[in-house]
């Protein structure tokens, strides 16, 4: 659950961190007005929820307000990482004496938050981590104790930050930690944190990713999330409570359980097929969910067959079968569907499916092989016909 840069900056500013001053424009006119209000050089920055906007041409310098309008127009026509750019942030260009990377995120290995800083800011921290690991300083935070001032000073001293900037740096890192905790974030990042001409520290870019599991207790953050960003099928999957990830293959997958869904994809590939997606319908499997899942899978017309793999546990196979039958009536399915049911009430489930057009399989291997056969029967080049 990512926030836009401008939202992240607002959050940081509320916690007392100095951020670069800017306004959001939705069109050329707006960008022009903001730029002329600032006077001088401005940065025009695409507001998108994906990374890599710099490389995609989503961040540009404009010399004057006319220039700003033109550049904003260009950027607003971009699509970056599957997201349409709907807004740009217009900010005065800042003279940069030094760029610092500063972030707090969770360390999975150590089960705790970690403060990460580097004197090599402004670029991709993962590149720094790989090429110059010594340039990254880390402090692990005890969850109950929280970040301590001395830990920030440790980091400041390790990244050779001039000591006159330490008090300000400590204040920023502590505020960033507060933002991380108060908002149930999984990442709060300032990259770059800039030392400007006046020797002050300014957050020039900001990133906040929130813990989706905690949104229920973060009503303000929930309002900040742009639920309508991204592809339509992602929005629909989210609405139905499905986990869906698109892939490039021809065999659609509909599975209960995330591990089993991955296992199903893997077995398809192992036997020479290509999965078209990851899809976990979760626990239970009512008609609406199954139908919605099928619709999402079928929207990709590279999909030539669907493999449904259900392991009944708490979920009962007969209920799933009923959901399937109802869904099949509702969704216009023109391709073959292989179904494998096992576990609780399997026999009843299979009986219900007897009269359907569904192709039944005995085991996961059997199901994968059947699905692959079906795709092969359609001809080898078929998968490429739609990409022309």
């Amino acid at each position: 659950m990512k926030l836009y840069e401008y939202q992240a900056k607002k959050l940081f500013a509320q916690n007392g961190i100095s951020v670069s001053e800017g306004y959001v424009a939705v069109d050329e006119e707006g960008a022009k007005n903001i730029a002329s209000g600032f006077g001088g050089d401005v940065m025009i920055k695409a507001q998108v929820l994906s990374g890599g906007r710099g490389k995609a041409g989503g961040v540009k310098l404009a010399r004057n307000s006319e220039d700003a309008a033109m550049i904003a127009g260009e950027i607003l026509r971009l699509e970056i990482g599957g997201y349409k750019v709907r807004n740009v942030l217009v900010e005065p260009a800042i003279v940069i004496k030094k760029e610092i990377y500063l972030a707090i995120t969770n360390d999975r290995e150590r089960k705790c938050p970690v403060l990460i800083a580097s004197g090599a800011g402004g670029i991709d921290i993962e590149d720094v981590a790989e090429q110059e690991p010594d340039k990254i300083a880390r402090e692990y935070v005890k969850p109950f104790m929280g970040l301590c001032n001395y830990q920030v000073r440790n980091v400041a001293s390790e990244i050779d930050l001039p000591s006159r900037l330490w008090p300000e740096f400590v204040q920023i890192a502590m505020a960033l930690y507060d933002a991380y905790v108060e908002n149930d974030a999984t990442i709060v990042e300032i990259n770059p944190l800039v030392v400007n001409e006046e020797d002050a520290l300014i957050a020039v870019d900001a990133k906040v990713v929130l813990d989706g599991n905690a949104l229920m207790r973060q009503p303000e953050m929930r309002e900040n999330i742009d639920w309508g960003a991204g592809q339509e099928y992602e929005i629909e999957a989210h609405r139905l409570g499905l986990s869906y990830v698109a892939l490039d293959g021809q065999i659609g997958c509909l599975v209960n359980g995330a591990g089993l869904a991955m296992g199903t994809m893997d077995i398809i590939e192992y036997f020479g097929g290509e999965p078209a997606n990851f899809l976990d319908i979760g626990g239970g499997a009512n008609e609406e969910k199954v139908a919605g899942a099928l619709r999402i899978i079928l929207r990709d017309d590279r999909v030539k067959t669907v493999l449904i793999n259900i392991f009944g546990g708490i979920t009962r196979c007969d209920e799933v079968a009923r959901g399937l039958i109802a869904a099949m009536n509702e969704v216009d399915v023109e391709i073959p569907i292989v179904v494998r049911l096992v576990g609780t009430n399997k026999d009843e489930g299979l009986r219900l499916l007897e009269d359907s057009d569904l192709i039944l399989a005995d085991s996961l291997v059997d199901a994968a092989k059947k699905a692959i056969e079906l795709v092969k029967a359609l001809g080898k080049d078929d998968r490429y016909e739609h990409s022309d």
């Binding site: 969770n106 969850p143 995330a258 591990g259 089993l260 296992g263 893997d266 392991f311 546990g313």
Partner: protein, 286 residues
Amino acid sequence: MSILIDQSTRVLVQGITGKEGLFHTNRMMEYGTEIVAGVTPGKGGDWVFDKVPVFNTCKAAVLASGANCSVIYVPALYAADAMLEAVTAGIKLVVCITEGVPLQDMMRVREYVDNCGARLIGPNCPGLLTPGECNVGIIPGDIAREGNVGVVSRSGTLTYEVLHTLSESGRGTSTCVGIGGDPISGTSFVDILRLFEEDPGTDQIVMIGEIGGQDEERAAEQIADRLSKPIVAFVAGRTAPAGKTMGHAGAIVEGGSGLADNKIRALREVGVRIANHPEEIPELLK
């Protein structure tokens, strides 16, 4: 023989009067699990199925029932409090089934559980099953039979698939432990592998990993150093793309870390036999 739970396990159910709690309490009791008490704040004094007394607090429940294990079915935002409560009340084995517990809650819970010397299984896990003896959580008991294979898994239904495959092949399970799919959980592969190594009832081990984190790599290090029992592993997610969460919050390949292939390589290097798919597992067992 088994690990963690057996016939002597006295189970406390937190959130026992909720829909999930009631449903699974019934299932666990049908399996023969000794459910000695339940907790639902404000419902103290009630009885569930005319057999299980309900208490307002874990403190009271543990005092009255001598429970030594707790299983948690409370909603995600209250789960952390429930785990802390169980541990404070002296429970040394806490099993949290609840999915969707906030990550920062889990960091704090983990710190506390470790400080108290308790063991937490989960959250977001199917629980534990010692066939024929005790079922704590939501694993369908009828898919596994008694035997000498220890099973440990980060997954839910994929675990059932493996238990089913083992049963079909005529093999049985000593204990099955679902450690859960969250990035920060109570127990790792390493912890459970050690317990299996020490358990005389476990002769070989099946380990079901998935993408994300370094848990399988840490397990490989342990296997090289300390474990002697034969291990078969399946790691799900070889076909998963980077940067996408695959259902489980913890199942994500990030910045080149957490790849299934790396995990498989690490495990293979220390002598673990790798199954290409779940149905291959029985053939690879000794």
